[in-house]
């Protein structure tokens, strides 16, 4: 395969992944939660650690540890499904009336493609996110950070197998996290 052809293949994959992430954002922003759940693998891990202020050189202490320490989120599909179910009851007060949310996904990069670009089975995707939430009258939240997603190709197409959310906050400046990143 010529170098150019490979570059094109890479390009097509990049676009495919980008499109997947944008459509996912649409589902969330359009409150189509069940369709969103369908994009998650059965063994999905959805993890958002907490962050500490640490001394220069002690970066290892910055994040709470996965499956060890407390986190903002550390979930599997079951809990995520229950979260969706809760919103869909229509009496989840924290989302009544529902929030107006926009997910801006940018800096999308394919960090790792396995087993190969030719036959990509899993892709590690890095991006930045900006989640804007506005509720009721003037209640407003702005959440910005990085995301690391592992997408897996399954029968139906790409699925989210893992999502690590790195929010650029220490004290969480939002009263609750009743939405997804």
């Amino acid at each position: 395969m010529s170098e150019r052809d490979e570059a094109i293949t890479r390009l097509l994959l990049h676009r495919e992944i980008e499109e997947f992430l944008y459509r996912e954002a649409d589902l969330l922003d359009e409150r189509r939660y069940e369709e969103w759940l369908a994009l998650l693998t059965e063994d999905v891990r959805y993890w958002m650690p907490m962050r500490r202020n640490v001394k220069f050189g002690e970066e290892s202490r910055e994040f709470t540890r996965e499956k060890e320490d407390i986190a903002w989120f550390d979930e599997g599909k079951d809990t995520l499904t229950r979260r969706v179910r809760q919103i869909l009851t229509g009496i989840h007060w924290a989302e009544e009336p529902v929030s107006r949310i926009s997910h801006l996904v940018s800096n999308v990069e394919l960090a790792e493609i396995t087993p190969s670009l030719a036959a990509p089975g899993e892709v590690l995707v890095k991006c930045r996110f900006l989640v804007y939430r506005n509720r009721v009258e003037t209640e407003t939240d702005l959440l910005v950070g990085k995301r690391e997603d592992v997408l897996r190709r399954e029968a139906g197409g790409w699925r989210i197998a893992r999502r690590k959310i790195v929010l650029d906050q220490n004290v969480l400046m939002t009263k609750n996290l009743t939405f997804f990143f």
Binding site: M48, D69, V136, K175, N176
Partner: protein, 453 residues
């Protein structure tokens, strides 16, 4: 003075909205409550080794919790004595000295001012270093791993301040099997902001047994430890549900009191290991703790701003005031130190989905606190007090059930379903603090008697 008696009318069961939304009253609270009451600061395991430190808060202010070279624990105001710089800006770490980044004064782990640049040249060695160490709390108490502090040396000692409420704190800090202080905290202190006055969560955790509707959605979604509903504890069906309050102290809890011959629960069917563990603990606890093994604290508040959940998710929360209209919550999560890894993980997962800003249960609480506060700020709203009449006058002293005599003033809500007894107790104490010029006037009568002896 912004606070005035009459705002709290417990005979009528009415409390003015002013105490939640008025900014002058808020400022008075900082002096009269937070600078005089005992506050939870953290857990010894956060500063396990000499030199370890963790930053915490007391009221609006940042404090340093640390362990000095000889292993003693201290709590200091996190502000340099020279020009006030925040000497420690890390959440945690280990050090030998706190050096101020502005002019370099440095303080030992015991708070002593040990380093002063140009001490000889510029101060001609005349600066009285002994007088200018870090400001230390007036009183400190480490109790079964928990660390408490108080800025007022006139305040009673922590255990005296707790009074008989100590038994309930024990049930939170001891292992599930009743082992003395058998708990440890999971890594990571949750910190987040809520747009409401700090007393909304404080009263809620004092024993608001009335807000079921708040949590109906999570009950429908079902996140209980056994995967069914939010919390499930079959064994409690035979128990009495009590509102227990200590008058003149302001501590209160919603607890279950089991009959002598209570079946041991068969919970956590989701995971055999966990189920077995708790079954075993259950039995051990009743053996170890005897009568008190029958007591199951669900939720409680140690006056003024420390709350606990006594069962699952077992945790301690502090409501830090951030202006009249905002609160910063800090929460620590507890598990049995000796529990098998699988149990800890199981509980951790449950804690995360239940509590905090991402907790499917508390999300709705915070929504309600937010808009209850917001809708109470206007001039017309302020004319209309809140209603605290629920089950007024139904409490009894020396409540007894199946041979167990409950301390303080108790209201049995097993049939009443709910009451605001605990909340009235909280605000009664709050008013005393706002009115009292000093601890003279605040010390509970029993203690004064004691003192007199």
């Amino acid at each position: 003075m912004a606070y005035r008696s009459g705002l709290i009318d417990l005979d009528k069961g009415e409390i003015s909205r002013e105490i939640f939304v008025d900014e002058a009253i808020y400022r008075e609270e900082q002096e009269r409550l937070f600078a005089r009451a005992w506050l939870f600061v953290g857990h010894e395991s956060q500063v396990a080794k000499p030199g370890d430190f963790a930053v915490s808060c007391m009221g609006e202010e940042s404090v340093i919790l640390c362990r000095d070279r000889v292993g003693q624990i201290h709590v200091f105001l996190n502000s340099c004595r020279h020009r006030g710089m925040k000497v420690c800006r890390y959440d945690e770490g280990s050090t030998t000295v706190f050096t101020c980044p502005y002019h370099g004064w440095s303080y030992g782990l015991d708070g002593k001012l040990v380093g002063v640049p140009y001490f000889k040249e510029a101060y001609e060695s005349r600066l009285d270093r002994a007088r200018w160490g870090l400001v230390e709390v007036a009183q400190l108490c480490c109790y079964k791993g928990s660390v408490w502090a108080n800025w007022d040396e006139a305040a009673p000692a922590f255990l005296q301040y707790l009074g008989e409420f100590r038994h309930f704190l024990d049930l939170v800090l001891d292992g599930w099997d009743g082992g003395e202080g058998g708990t440890e905290i999971l890594g990571g202190v949750q910190k987040w902001l809520i747009p409401c006055n700090w007393k909304f969560p404080a009263e809620n955790f004092s024993g608001d047994s009335y807000h079921n509707i708040s949590h109906r959605s999570v009950d429908l979604a079902g996140i209980g430890p056994s995967g069914s509903n939010r919390r499930d504890m079959p064994e409690l069906l035979a128990a009495r549900k009590l509102h227990i309050a200590l008058p003149e102290r302001g501590h209160q809890t919603t607890s279950f009191l089991l009959p002598r011959a209570a079946p041991v629960s068969a919970a956590y069917q989701g995971s055999p290991v966990v189920a077995d563990y708790f079954q075993a603990c259950e039995e051990a606890r009743r053996r170890r703790k005897g009568e008190w093994g029958r007591m199951m604290p669900l939720v409680g508040e140690i006056f003024p701003s420390t709350a606990f959940l006594g069962r699952q998710p077992r945790s301690i929360a502090v409501w830090h005031p951030r202006g009249a209209h905002q609160t910063e919550v800090w929460r620590w999560y507890l598990v049995d130190r000796e529990a098998p890894r699988e149990v800890k993980e199981y509980l951790r997962d449950y804690y995360i989905r239940y509590s905090g800003p991402a907790g499917m249960t508390e999300q709705d609480d915070m929504e309600n606190w937010n808009y209850a506060h917001a809708a109470s700020r206007g001039v017309v709203a302020r004319r209309h007090p809140y209603n605290y009449e629920q089950a007024m006058g139904q409490e009894v002293e020396n409540y007894e059930f199946d041979g167990f005599r409950v301390p303080g003033s108790t209201l049995d809500i097993t049939d009443a379903k709910s009451s605001e007894h605990n909340l009235r107790n909280f605000y009664r104490r709050w008013a005393q603090f706002m009115e009292a010029e000093s601890w003279e006037a605040l010390a509970p009568r029993p203690d004064r008697a004691e003192a007199a002896e």
